[in-house]
Point group: none
DNA sequence: AAGTGGTCTAGACCACCGA
DNA sequence: CGGTGGTCTAGACCACTTA
């Protein structure tokens, strides 16, 4: 058996906790006793108990003992970004190009996508984004903003712009929440022309909803990426009990 | 100073990593050298380095050294899950069907996807998942696990199984991190047959990497979803000042 | 073969808690 | 006060990687 001694010991203790020999709420035998029982040093016992604590099965209390807290481990996973811009994962700097803009009144289909009532007026910004040094655009983006923020257009001329910074600036409201929905699609002709791919080629459709305080919808963006030009990467990490500051 | 020696040491190392003295990708000085430098025993050094590993800042590699992985930026936006199972977002219960299994030796192409060395042996589980009441599968999944956990096969018979629970159980290790990469693809013939769609129809390719402590790769899964059967939704929220546990 | 991190021992002193 | 877990030392052998 090449399994470390402390791991075998941890497995044994997990089994015994699950079996009810050490009920939830009770104390595990003190470390010196476990040393005797298993014939190992205290270091090994502590390493084993640490595993149980990491799993959230027990908690240790100086001067008291090791208390059984659960028979199953619970988990909480977290992904984080330092800014919403990171959501786009543009490791390379990208350049924004304006293709056009227009006022649109949401028909039922668009209203459903934009989560508004039919007839609502939006400013649609038609843009695409280029990676440095590439001739073909990375993504075709249609951004919808409320009419009241139409002045955004005037600031959109600089090449390297992050639209949602402008939305925050003009709405005077912090973007508090963003929802992102990623699906696949056959790229429609209009986007295919912009992207320089064949119509109906596979691509990613990304819808993003930017919400302010009180869940107010500030902006929506519909993005189409050709299959071979982009992937989304998200890292989820287990949240440790007691938080990052440590036990 | 009542702060434990190992914690002071950990803080020092974090500072030095952030300062660039130990860049991401480089190796930390070996433990014996740290013992000399700080005048402490190896146990204390290891306890300090363990803290860094728990934070995901470094990973340790027997025979090689301790590699710096990140400088940990403070997160503004976070998304959270109560379990990794939520990552799949199956609001409906789904049923797992086994299509087959085989041993595969990673050729260079597969090795690149699985992030291992060519020639490494894996157990490939070929499965698909059905939504309740649907005749067509939702997703074609190929799951790769290390040979040492081959006993997983035996437990895979119950219809409604969460494979990574089994991986955790058999590896005796907690899944501490999951990376998910979502892209689009033209569905290849083999998957198209399973899914009941036309070959080269647009679809989502989702690669998931499940890592244990110390960034050990425990399992990889390659999933193909037809475009019209699934979307990924993620909500990002602005992290409030102070955070959950405070750092 | 040399050097790395992984495991383990035998011991010590401490801070903390409850009787 | 005695017993608990928390910290720390000095030393040992092992498994693993690289050269």
């Amino acid at each position: 058996m090449t399994t470390p001694r402390y791991q075998q010991l941890a497995d044994t203790l997990v089994r015994e906790i699950r079996s009810g020999r050490f009920p939830v709420g009770s104390l595990l035998p003190p470390e010196p006793r476990l040393c005797q029982r298993f014939g190992v040093s205290r270091h090994t016992v502590r390493e084993a108990v640490r595993r149980l604590a990491d799993l959230g099965l027990v908690s240790r209390h100086q001067g008291v003992g090791t208390r059984v807290r659960a028979t199953q481990s619970s988990a909480h996973y977290v992904a984080s970004l330092s800014s919403l811009q990171d959501l786009m994962q543009y490791t390379q700097r990208t350049r924004l190009e304006r293709l056009g803009e227009r006022w649109v009144e949401a028909d039922p289909a668009l209203a459903s996508v934009l989560r508004c009532n039919p007839g609502q007026l939006w400013l649609e910004l038609d843009t695409c984004r280029y990676q440095a040094g590439r001739r073909e655009p990375l993504v075709h983006m249609r951004v919808y903003v409320h009419p009241e923020h139409e002045r955004i257009r005037e600031e959109l001329d600089a090449g390297n712009v992050w639209i949602y910074g402008l939305v925050e600036k003009h709405s005077g409201e912090r973007i508090v929440e963003a929802q992102q929905i990623v699906g696949a699609l056959a790229i429609p002709a209009a986007s295919a022309r912009v992207l320089g791919v064949k119509a109906r080629a596979p691509g990613l459709l990304v819808r993003r909803y930017y919400l302010g305080r009180n869940a107010r919808l500030l902006s929506v963006s519909l993005n189409v990426y050709p299959a071979d030009r982009f992937e989304f990467s998200t890292r989820w990490r287990l949240e440790l009990d007691g938080g990052p500051a440590g036990r």
